[in-house]
Amino acid sequence: MRVALQVTCVNDAMFPDTGKAVVRLLRHLGVDVDFPSAQTCCGQPMVNTGYLDEAVPVVRTFVRAFAGYDAVVTPSGSCAGSARHQHSIVAERSGDPALVAAVAETGPRTYELSEFLVDVLGVTDVGAYFPHRVTYHPTCHSLRMLGVGDRPQRLLEQVRGIELVDLPMAEECCGFGGTFALKNADTSIAMGADKARHVRDTGAEVLVAGDNSCLMHIGGMLSRQRAGVRVVHLAEILASTEES
């Protein structure tokens, strides 16, 4: 099976440790993962702000980069959702039948990390060790756009040493929402403040989620509040071992 990592633009530029963790994790599970260097971004920032024409060349770059792979794995529910549910909109907009056909090929083969581990590889115990008190925030796009369900929790439950605590109002949006965080900053911050309060109420040392963009928002608030809670991507916990 030829597997490509779509690291995502946010992780590439801001959170390379998450990408490295995915590579380590997949290699540990016997998957030889490739990083097609032509990749950039899924195009979601443009699409979700209404710039469909601008998204066309970005989506074109995406499908070219990932053509021919059996599976594209991404450590982001949001970017997987974009490839699966939004690329067709952009392709239709382009009026280019070749692009329509290409996104129909890559979209269904794009998996969020927990989906790939549980559904494609069929594993829940990845041999990780993470001796901390952790609470999990299901990000909106992984939960409602992709429907990853309890896959991340099933993976986390198998991590040795972990103490998982329930996050109150877990399924409520953290308020990130891409450019929403800037265009409606006050509302975004009000939502983030409530999410941060719920995280603090758990007494967890670590907040985990499957999207670093949401974690950057919640973590940024927690940091400003001096809450002492660290935000960590799911991939980094799953790639942690006793040696590391």
Partner: protein, 492 residues
């Protein structure tokens, strides 16, 4: 008599003001949490809820896709049943029809059943200008009307008010327009409801003309349906001599049997009940029972505009249940007024631009009033994919500015970002620049995130929107891409 949404600022500005009102936020958080819990309980009782949603969406979609035929059938059925059918292209035409019917009966007042269509067309204000008083009889509408306030929720227009505020409004205002509230009025909800009963009773008993909307209009039988709780609807639909119903053309369902999924979906989604206390159905005039003169005004007012939008037309399936408002994290925090329309919340954020277009700044701000979390789609009983329509309406906003002489800063930034994202070499170059910035920030920053990573605290300029309340991690010195190249994917 009441306030107006005309001249409201765009959503971000209105939201900022609302967020500063702590009383409002407490009222909303309490109310939306209560109704969310009630809905969740009665929805969980229905084993095949998802199939019921599919059936409900199907009924409405089928009716919309052959709407002209169903409207003609409805008109014929209504006429056969003794009703008079009117057609109104816009708000002004609809209001003029209602005023003219009221004048023809020499009435200077009408009793009103709560109706979104009549709120949308500003009927009360139009009638007032014609010397006709329109009495709202739904408790929440009464609170809004007496308080010279604006509605902030589809189902419960006074959701932003708590019991103490309602008591104050009743005591101050009821006497001005009819029977005054008792001097010893308490703020117990049951006592307040009792005061509304006393106040409105004389209005129901003397009303000659009533105005309603309709939740559904059944084409093949000419039946209108009003779903309600208090009995104010029954009063208005039964006691007056003349009944005028203003019905949006999208309220049509094809057949009587089509009401089945709708009447199961609506109360559970709306008030969180297995069934609402009262549902009234009537087909034209029933000799010796109820109003003997029945008018139906079929209203367009932007609906055909929405119908022409291939992505957005699904919004016309909406049955005004409010479930999307109640679960929306944005609505919960800012309330309904910030949306500047009688249709607030997620459905308002798509319905207003679809009905009216996006040429004014306020309406154009609505599709962006969402984090696209998808909670609205999840609860919608007729499966309106609100997030997808929001994104599509954002595209409509952007497209409406494509020929602007001076592009906005946002448009320029998006074009630049898209340019960088269209070629990995450009992105790699940008990442090298950001890596340099990261090294600088890391050296000089006095903020560190838990775990030790350097971060930016409050920054000026465009970054202030983010860093006003959120620390921003410093960019890493090396991007993932550079790491992969340097180490051959970690193998060197």
């Amino acid at each position: 008599m009441s306030g107006t949404f005309v001249g409201m600022p765009a959503f971000p500005t209105a939201a900022r003001a609302a967020l500063g009102d702590t009383q409002l936020r407490r009222n909303l958080a309490h109310a939306t949490q209560t109704i969310r819990d009630k809905r969740a309980l009665v929805v969980a009782e229905v084993e095949d809820w998802e199939d019921l949603r599919l059936a409900g969406a199907g009924v409405k979609e089928a009716a919309l896709r052959d709407l002209a035929t169903h409207l003609e059938t409805l008109e014929a059925s209504l006429t056969r049943a003794g009703a008079t059918v009117h057609w109104a292209r816009d708000a002004a035409e609809a209001c003029a029809i209602v005023a003219s019917i009221t004048h023809a009966h020499g009435a200077d007042e009408v009793a009103k059943v709560k109706s979104m269509a009549t709120a949308e067309i500003g009927l009360n204000e139009a009638l007032e200008a014609e010397g006709i008083a329109a009495w709202e009889t739904d408790l929440a509408e009464l609170i809004v009307q007496l308080g010279d306030d604006l509605p902030s929720h589809i189902l419960v227009p006074a959701i932003h008010r708590n019991r103490a505020e309602i008591r104050e409004i009743f005591q101050r205002r009821m006497g001005d327009v009819g029977k005054a509230a008792p001097a010893d009025l308490s703020d117990e909800p049951a006592v307040l409801a009792g005061a509304a009963r006393e106040h409105l009773r004389e209005k129901f008993l003397r009303a000659k003309v009533a105005v309603s909307g309709a939740n559904f209009a059944v084409a093949d039988t000419g039946t209108l349906v009003v779903v309600e709780s208090e009995g104010n609807g029954r009063m208005c639909l039964t006691l007056p001599e003349v009944l005028v119903s203003v019905v949006g053309i999208e309220k049509v369902v094809a057949t009587w049997a089509d009401l089945d999924p709708m009447l199961r979906l609506l109360p559970r989604s709306s008030t969180g009940e297995r069934m609402n206390p009262y549902t009234s159905t009537w087909s034209g005039v029933s000799p010796g029972d109820g109003p003997q003169e029945v008018h139906v005004v079929l209203l367009d007012n932007g609906r055909t505009r929405a119908l022409a939008d291939d992505v957005g037309r699904q919004a016309l399936r909406c049955i005004r249940c409010s479930a999307c408002l109640n679960v929306c994290p944005v609505y919960e925090r800012v309330g309904g007024h910030a949306y500047g329309s009688v249709y607030p919340g997620p459905i308002g954020a798509i319905l207003n631009p679809l009905l009216n277009g996006v040429s004014d700044e306020q309406t154009a701000s609505l599709p962006y009033a969402s984090s696209l979390c998808g909670a609205c789609f999840e609860v919608c009983p007729v499966r309106i994919d609100i997030p997808s329509v929001l994104v599509d309406q954002r595209a409509a906003v952007v497209d409406s500015h494509r020929n602007d002489r001076v592009p906005s800063a946002e448009a320029l930034a998006m074009k630049a970002t898209a340019w960088a994202f269209s070629d990995s070499r450009r992105l790699a170059w940008a990442e090298r620049a950001s890596g340099i910035a990261g090294r600088v920030i890391t050296r000089f920053s006095r903020t560190t995130l838990p775990g030790g990573r350097a971060a930016s605290g409050r920054l000026p300029g465009p970054a202030a929107g983010w860093t006003g309340a959120r620390d921003l991690p410093a960019p890493p010195a090396e991007s993932f891409r550079e790491w992969w190249d340097r180490t051959d994917g970690g193998q060197r």
